[in-house]
């Protein structure tokens, strides 16, 4: 019956989605390597109320048409690959990437990408992430290793009690021309997509690939203050949309009251 009722309702739905995303961001405020998301909205179609050049009832010509918008729709959620804060942990298998780059993980032949650098060693001596997915290219920590060091360029050395190197090698990271296009698959991992482009792999510190900091972890890039502000703005926007519904409703009430018995 009234466009504005439905239009404002789409606005309320959009703000609910915004709150869902804020809630997920806030829930992951302590997730290692987490990248926050944002919701993208676009306006819905416009209904032509009067065409430009149309004659009005008084015989005037409308210079510009009148098109009434029908509200808003959510179109996508976007990852924001801003750098997270670094936290010193003192754990030799905690590695943070400074600037661009992703660790590569092997999940039964599929390669996934992630920024979370909290690694473990599985029973075969392979370096794996918290999910047990091995890091690519594989690193096997020899038995008898006491200290494991990684320099900023990604060169790693496993040494025994006397400091004699047992094995050595170099890490590889992947970068994407458009990391925002990566598909989040949960578990702190991303998969490549058409939008992200093919991964470009290389050694840390070379060709625009970031460097490694051992004993550090990259924390979540969720900023609690930003999220709180978004929450407040979203709640108020929700409220104002509900006011538009109330206004439409009371105007309908006024129309109904025109007819007196």
């Amino acid at each position: 019956m009234m466009r504005s009722l439905w239009t404002a309702a789409t606005g309320m739905v959009a703000q609910q989605i915004e709150q869902d995303i804020v809630a997920n961001n806030l829930a992951n405020v302590n997730t290692v390597g987490f990248k926050k998301s944002r919701a993208d909205f676009q306006d819905l179609m416009y209904q032509i109320y009067a065409k430009s050049g149309a004659e009005t009832s008084q015989g005037n010509q409308l210079p510009v048409g009148i098109e009434v918008g029908m509200g808003v729709k959510p179109i996508s959620t976007q990852r924001m690959f801003l750098q997270g804060d670094y936290q010193q942990t003192g754990n030799q298998f905690d590695w943070a990437i400074e600037k661009d780059g992703f660790f590569q993980f092997d999940d039964n032949g599929e390669t996934y990408y992630g920024r979370a650098g909290n690694f473990k060693i599985n029973r075969d001596g392979l370096i794996v992430n918290s999910e047990g997915l091995p890091l690519l290219p594989n690193i096997t920590v020899p038995t008898g290793t006491v200290s494991f060091t990684v320099d900023t360029g990604g060169t790693w050395t496993a040494a025994d009690q006397e400091g004699n190197p047992l094995a050595t090698g170099r890490l590889e990271l992947a970068i994407f021309i458009n990391p925002a296009g990566l598909t989040a698959i949960g578990r702190n991992l991303f998969a490549k997509s058409e939008a992200s482009g093919e991964p470009i792999t290389g050694n840390p510190g070379e060709n625009g690939i970031g460097t490694i900091s051992q004993n550090f972890l990259e924390m979540s890039n969720v900023n609690v203050i930003d999220e709180m502000v978004r929450m407040i703005v979203g709640q108020r926007a929700y409220e104002i949309n509900s006011k538009a519904i109330q206004t439409a409703d009371s105007m309908l009430g006024i129309i109904a009251a025109l007819k007196r018995s």
Binding site: G11, Q42, M45, P63, S76, L82, N178, N241, T247, I254
Partner: protein, 237 residues
């Protein structure tokens, strides 16, 4: 009588239309690059001494093209224009213009919108293939330090003649006269937020509801007067 119930009714209908605009503005308070739009009324230019009452004049909608605030996103391909102009997009229906600069790459490494339509540069489509991208304030795109194109920013002599459609698109159907934008800055890693002003929308809402109530009172009064004239004037004493 100079005005009758239908005139007041028509004025009331305009208030309902005005509310539709307010509702669309508030619904889009989080829409990237959205521009608020309001309805204005103009009185018809005839005077009482010409024997005609000023009737209901033009109803004009005007888009408020003022700058929206920029929000940082950290994605290089999120672009925001500060100042005049629109991004130029190639669609199947022809060239459209938008202020929503959340762009991405398709599988051919071309710069596209979220709907997959090509973002035009000064020399056509923009291909970004390399390891690093930088976009400067003029909209020049550098891939691995080599320039590959410049974002085409189009401004208009008369922006009010643009026709808007869904997804934040504007089309030039009525002679808005496109021209090269001069006063602008392209910000990479930012998006322009909606320019909807909550205070204005709220006061508009209060205002139009109260006006609507007044119309109701007028209609009720006119009804009463009609009743009086039919029941009393013709009555035999």
């Amino acid at each position: 009588m100079l005005y009758d119930v239908t005139d007041v009714g028509r004025a009331g209908a305009r208030k309902l239309l005005e509310l539709d605009f307010v509702a669309n503005n508030v619904a889009n308070s989080s829409t990237t690059g959205f521009k608020a739009e309001h309805l204005y009324y103009a009185m018809k230019g005839k005077k009482i001494d010409q024997g005609v009452m000023p009737g209901l004049g033009y109803t004009i909608s005007a888009i408020d093209y003022s700058q929206g605030t920029l929000q940082t996103t950290g994605n290089i391909l999120d672009l925001a224009i500060e100042g005049d102009g629109f991004f130029t997009i190639q669609t199947n229906q022809g060239t459209v213009y938008t202020r929503d600069g959340s762009f991405m790459l398709n599988k051919n490494k071309e710069l596209v919108t979220g709907q997959g339509e090509h973002v035009l540069g000064d020399a056509g489509r923009i291909v970004i293939d390399g390891t690093s991208v930088k976009i400067n304030e003029e909209g020049m795109i550098y891939v691995d330090e080599n320039p590959v194109g410049k974002i085409k920013v189009t401004a208009f002599e008369n922006e009010q003649l643009l026709t808007r459609s869904a997804d934040g698109r504007y089309t030039d159907r009525a002679g808005a006269s496109p021209k090269k934008a001069a006063n602008y800055k392209v910000n990479s890693g930012y998006l322009e937020m909606s320019n909807v002003n909550a205070v204005r929308e709220m006061t508009d809402m209060i205002n139009l509801q109260r006006t609507f109530e007044t119309y109701q009172k007028i209609i009720l009064t006119l009804q009463d007067m009609d009743k009086i004239s039919t029941t009393r004037i013709g009555k035999l004493v």
